[in-house]
């Protein structure tokens, strides 16, 4: 499945004008803060309406300005791990994970929640509330919550930014393993090149609201490192 993103949006003085196509797998939107990576995720999820463009998952069109297609966020089947996770503070970890399973029977819901808690290694923390969990645990609950309704795509906004550096590597491996197991395509936003190296199959290089380059991670990084060596800042 190819993920097509082509969006334009003006927000005050900032112009976002990006287009890229990414294969299934893990795609990193990589670039400095303020280059429009999070805005892109918001457009893909339907939380921000582009002025024009097109967003499609394979043949499924989520947004097309010219055709007047604009699916509501709730109908897009896209999981979203927010930068500060946005876990519901009044609900337990298991209730957070089960929140998107409102159409399932209670038995199916609790089975799915249990499966996800085990997948992210938090089976013993089901009844904890978010404020009783560490940053890394909160991040994993947020990932499990996003995965619960079996979305077609998961978006992750700086998933490791708020994580202590000594557990970051472990969480990257876990994310990689979860991706291998679920096979759900992921787009993650990061400004840390280590996230790109460890996780991304495809990298989309961002700068000033535009895409500078798209390609397989190894190729793009190799080219960029040559450039950086040739033109030291």
């Amino acid at each position: 499945m190819i993920i097509t993103v082509d969006v334009r949006r003006t927000l005050g003085p900032f112009h976002l004008k990006v287009a890229f196509a990414a294969p299934a797998g893990i795609t990193a939107l990589f670039g400095p803060s303020g280059s429009g990576k999070t805005l892109t995720l918001r457009c893909v999820a339907g939380l921000l309406r582009p002025e024009r463009g097109r967003v499609a998952l394979g043949q499924r069109v989520l947004y097309d300005g010219a055709l007047g297609v604009d699916l509501a966020t709730r109908d897009r089947r896209i999981g979203y791990v927010f930068q500060h996770y946005a876990l519901f503070p009044h609900l337990s970890a298991s209730a957070n994970i089960g929140y998107g399973l409102h159409d399932a029977s209670p038995a199916d819901r609790s089975a799915r929640v249990k499966e996800l808690l085990e997948m992210v290694g938090l089976a013993d923390f089901a009844e904890r509330h978010p404020h009783q969990l560490s940053g890394g645990q909160q991040q994993r609950v947020a990932l499990a919550r996003a995965l619960a309704p079996r979305p077609d795509l998961v978006l992750l906004d700086e998933p490791f930014a708020a994580i202590d550096s000594f557990v970051r590597d472990h969480l990257r491996e876990q994310l990689r393993a979860i991706h291998a197991r679920t096979q759900v395509p992921m787009i993650l936003v990061t400004h840390d090149v280590a996230d790109v190296r460890r996780l991304a199959d495809t990298v989309v290089l961002y700068g000033h609201g535009a895409v500078l380059e798209v390609g397989a991670t190894d190729d793009v990084l190799a080219r960029r490192e040559v450039q950086t060596a040739a033109y030291p800042a």
Partner: protein, 219 residues
């Protein structure tokens, strides 16, 4: 002691607050979350009853809803009688005077709530009304509860607008605050004192309970 005015005050305040919740909470959410043309005009109209003297409010309602008012034919058609000098008029007066307090407090509660929670709920496939009940309202509950308490307090103490719209008919539209005024005017000070103390105790008890409920929703 004649308990009828006190009972009427409680009933009027309870019904006015119920209507206040039904109208005020959704309106507060819309004002906190949406921008649309005419938003500022609506905000001003909401604050106006808080700053105007209750007599102006009562007079305005009388002009609008009274015998010669533009709304009177509709009221007659639906209820078979005019609104003025009925217990329902006391509810209308209390509702208009008190609901702005609820809207302001609830709006503050909604504005303080990070929109990311509602956005997260949307990405999880939930509908707006379900999100409001399961995420927004529980997380903004303190602002809403404070608004309900303020609304009830303002409603139970309503005097000026009620007197103008509902009058002072003992046993029918005479609320506690009007009965106290009436008793003082005719020199029945003992009666005024008892009624004032009773009103104070009842209102205090209700507010105390509401504060407990508001705190109870803490996570």
């Amino acid at each position: 002691m004649d308990l009828a005015p006190l009972a009427l005050s409680l009933r009027v305040a309870a019904v006015a607050t119920a209507f206040g919740i039904a109208v005020g909470v959704p309106l507060a959410w819309v004002l906190a979350r949406k921008s649309f043309p005419g938003r500022d005009v609506i905000s001003v109209l909401i604050v106006l009853p808080m700053v105007l003297p209750p007599t102006v409010l009562g007079y305005g309602l009388l002009v609008l809803l009274g015998r010669q008012g533009p709304v009177d034919p509709a009221i007659q058609a639906v209820f078979g009688e005019g609104l003025v000098f009925t217990p329902a008029a006391a509810v209308v007066a209390a509702f208009v005077a008190a609901t702005p307090f609820l809207i302001r407090a609830a709006q503050g509660g909604f504005e303080q709530l990070d929109v990311a929670y509602e956005e997260a709920a949307r990405t999880l496939g939930r509908r707006e009304f379900a999100i409001f009940l399961t995420v927004t309202a529980p997380l903004a509950w303190r602002g809403i509860a404070a608004g309900i308490a303020l609304c009830f307090a303002r409603a139970i103490g309503e005097f000026g607008a009620t007197l103008m719209l509902a009058g002072n008919i003992p046993g029918r539209t005479q609320t506690a605050s009007i009965a106290i005024y009436d008793a003082v005017q005719s020199g029945r000070l003992e009666q005024a004192t008892t009624m004032a103390l009773a009103l104070g105790i009842v209102a205090g008890a209700v507010l105390f309970l509401l504060a407990r409920v508001g705190r109870g929703a803490r996570w």
